[in-house]
Amino acid sequence: MAAYFASLNFLKLLRSMPGGVAQGLIWGLMALGLYITFRLLDVADLTVDGSFTTGGAVTVMLILAGWPAWAALLVAVAAGVLAGLVTGLLHTRLGIPAILAGILTQLSLYSINLRIMGMSANKAVSVDKYHLVLTSRNIPGSILTGLIICLVLISFFYWYFGTEQGSAIRATGANAAMCRALGINVDTMKVLGLAISNGIVALSGGLMSQYQGFADINMGRGAIVIGLAAVIIGEVIGHALLGKYMNFYGTLSFVVVGGVLYYLVIVTVLWLKLNSNDLKLFTAVIVGLFLAIPYLRAHRKSSFARLKKGGGTNA
């Protein structure tokens, strides 16, 4: 035990923090995409595990083909939008429950992503040979780029979800029956939301592949859980800090903060020399806990179990 603690170098943890922030920002961006479906449309969209990888694969392959990185990212966004469209149409046109539609698209994307990467599970793109938007070799630069992209996207969200169309998407998630009565095509709004969401997720996948210097067929596995972790951690902390002053700007900013915090926890866990293969289990437990907190909190205030113990107000 003493030997274990002696082997931990606190300075090493501090040194790995900036890298954690950079990656956290990229995951925060992906969480912003997930926020549209999970919170605004009230749908758990499992497409993202696939479309994150699609974004990475498209970006790397196009850069390797000589495209400038920014153009490659644009095509990646388009590919993500397409994936979201497929899920949306499976759901609205063919009546498949949203969660299953997402699973179907995600599964098919595994094959498609392999095809995009020329049937190899891993494609490297070296920052020495190509000009990349961000890279783990330049962490301060990557943090700055990540921050700028997140800020631009938050501003875009703030504008778009304030427009007539964006309001209609929000209303669709809140009350579909009302929307139909007000002449809103609920199906179109769902497809639109899924498309935009997956476009952003693919953008984040494209950034991640550049940061780590490769695209991997499994890079998106569990992306939805990480995204949910960011959304929920961000909401909990945002509410604790801002309370009722929390507005849409605040909510979105804290989603990104949630992504960064999540990744810093991961960095710390790795520093504690936990086996990195256990990370998914660890993530699932954390997200499970955060998802359960609102329920357990409400349950504590009003439950049958409490009455049984004689804890009722009349006892």
Partner: protein
Amino acid sequence: MLDVVKISKTFNPGTINEKRALSELSLHLDDGDFVTVIGGNGAGKSTMLNAIAGVWPVDEGRIVLDGNDITALPEHKRAFLIGRVFQDPMMGTAPNMQLEENLALAKRRGERRGLRWGVTKAEREEYHERLKTLGLGLEDRMTAKVGLLSGGQRQAVTLLMAALRKPKLLLLDEHTAALDPATARKVLELSDSIIQENGLTALMITHNMSDAIRHGNRLIMMNEGHIILDVRGEEKAHLTKRELMEKFSQLSGAQVENDAMLLSK
């Protein structure tokens, strides 16, 4: 104005739960008609309103509203002609959106929703004035989430929303049934004044016979998917509850001794 011609609807056809909810129902409404609709449970009142609103397609018949044949239009595409208030106060508004955002959504009923700003400054002033007329103090809570309002307040807001962009036809589906008596009376009065001020054509379902007699210029009674009684003008104005009940038992062939029987039929 509204022409419903021999519409029929059967739910769950070919199953043990088969139910012919509307059978060759026809109805003509003149411009400015305010029609109250009564009938027992399962008489087809809500089904008729849902058929007109386009919640699902009818099996047979045609529906023409203000010169537009809307029979084949899905719900959201006929919304530009129709304003609606539901029985459930939760159904008509988006709880996690602001009051003014809800009104703005309704203001654009049936319009293409583009990338213009969702609520403009000029609109806010209009909403402020309109909310004032409700007398509920809601004009000072325009940025509050609608979910924080009471059922009666939400129903009043839904009424306002339905009339914000003047509809050719207003459908009220037992919109006071879930409210306490005092609030229900207020919302009914409000419905009356909104219909009168805007000169709206309206169909209002109610379970309360006195309300059905007191409001509107015309009353229809439904049973087993069609209309069995249609009174208007002077005749309706002088109608009594007792007469109405007698008519019901006579026309439906059932023995009705009181209000409650009619309600539970």
